[in-house]
Amino acid sequence: MNTKKKAGAGLGQLLIPLVALGILIVFNLFRDLGFFAISMRVNNSGNIVLTGNLISIIDSASELAIIAMGMTLVTAACGGQDISVGAVGAIAGAVFVKILQGMGAITVGSVLLGLLLCCLATILFKLFNGTLVAVFRIQPMIATLILYSCGRSIAYWINGDATPQLNSPIISSIGMTIPGIPIPTPIFAVLLVGLLMFLVFKFTSLSLYTQSVGINAGAARLNGINPTLIKLLSFALLGVCVSVASVIGVCRLGQLNHKTLLVDIEMDAILAVAIGGNNLGGGRFKLSGSILGAYIIQMLTTTLYAMNVAPVNVKAYKAIVIIIIVVAGSPVVKSKLTEFWNRTRSVRQTKELSKRGVS
């Protein structure tokens, strides 16, 4: 009984996103069975790849899922959101391309070096945000508003107005598929980042520390946790996530456009965190919820595209679905529903009891 209750409580947070995903799947089943078709196809570069709506959903949600993981950590530790991830992502992309251009030939080594340096750059920018939040105690949204408004200008400053092209089998195998493996590479990147985070949380107390800092930073400090360090760490981890997502974004297109790279992803990432049932005020968090949220958002977008909704109009329909999801997950509606559920159950129980008494 006790364990059952505990399992139920763990699932509680994921209940709403799971139900939302289920409804989306059922809706698509009724709408068009062909939506789920997966087929093998030979792509432009002669590789055999899996294609289909499902694959494209999982593939194109990769950047969002990776950033949503980092965003969850920042939200949990600081009780606020980072709205500069898109702009910092553009900076990361600019740094990555600049290094690859500086190295001349694109080899595995130069790509790895580029990724490393671009991680370093984003971590530096995120630590700037983190310092404002953790040391100067500025609300995260305000602190990140600075880079939100000037991040893309910094990217422009690094790389000029051009949209440099990167043509190399290595780039396309990062952004699309590795020859011989039919599954898009970004999916593996999500798995890798997710696995690393899972291992970190499994074998260290970072998760517990982050939650306690998010719930009450003062109490956490009195218990020997350094809230400043934890907050800075969460921003640094978000920086790593952003740079990985940005490299995937650059490689996917094979070119860099500082105006459109990861544009508006901050809003989607915050939405993913909220849909995943995490409290935007900090504290308890679940990475799986945020990842689920990211895939729900992408599935919704792809479904709308499949229904021939123009890309510019998608936002309106998305807003309606988001409102339905957050209303269903709101504490007031939840408590009303549980009250209703308890009442009907108690009515049923009394009926059963009275029946038993009669018989």
Binding site: A143, S149, S153, I154, I320, S330
Partner: protein, 372 residues
Amino acid sequence: MPDKKQKVRSLQREPLTDAQMLMFISIGIFVVMYLAAMLTLKGGFLKPQMIFDLLNDNAALIIIACSLTVVMIGGGINISVGGIIGLTVMSCALFLNGCMIESSFVSILLTFLLALGIGLAFGVAEGFLVSYLEIQPFIVTLAGMFLARGLTTILSVNPVKVTHKAFLELVKVKLKISWLGYTAQNGNLIPAKIEIGAIVAILVVILMALMLRYVKLGRNIYAVGGNRQSALMLGINVKRTIFWSYVISGLLAGLAGFVFLMHKPAGNASVALRGEMDAIASSIIGGTLLTGGVGNVIGTFFGTMILATIQKIIALSPLNASWWQEMANGAMLGFFIVLQSVVLSARSKSRIKQNSRKQNAPPVEEGPPQTQ
């Protein structure tokens, strides 16, 4: 009774509150910046028309910045205001073009009511979701922004120019003040021109300042933003207060949309894009804290003027490039944010010191300065 009066007076004479302090800093910086621009760039900055131009061009921004200040004082946030402006401008432009009513006055009045209605609808819906269903304001207004932007493009993807003659006449109406004007090279006197939108914006600032200071709802918004629990214990209807703050915010955003249309009579999918972020930045520069309970509409007005002045300075200086502008905005914002944080923490520290000094040595009023 006289005792009570005295008490009120002594309350008014208390040292500057944090909000006033931050407001005076931003006013000071605006004045310094404007004087510096006058001395170095000369040209347009020496004419009073420049200030009116700043007002004319940024009337809608001033109004949405006020709308955000009200919500932020209540401890919330509203990032849908830019979207509401876009939607209002687009739908009003379409309505005016398709309007078949003979009387031009009635059609313009209906357009005005349409603008307010759209804002009101968004405000009521967002207010209900935030206050009564307790959903995080960021997410609710983010959904509101998506909805407004999406509806704008559903209405029309292409830009829509207003062709309604009477409205275009109204757009041209400007208040002319001859004694603030200047003589052009050919000897003609060019009077200073103020658009109706700028006057509306200033009226909004004054009304909101009075509302926040003297109306019960305004005081309640401060109380709720400062500390929700104690506001609840004081018997304030917290949910209703928050609801009304969003309604006011939405209404002002609708009004801002109409003002925007009067400045540039054309609807476009990218109208007021990122306007909400500019409005938030203006509020913060003006001394509003996102945590709630601290803020001032007058400060917000000067915050907007600071951003507008930076824009003008960069446009007139040889650094004319959009990325310089964004960098300058970012740097300015960063400077103000850090300044606020430092000022507030220093003040709270000194207050604690004062309090402890008072408690430790109450009989000695003016003792020798204590060494630290």
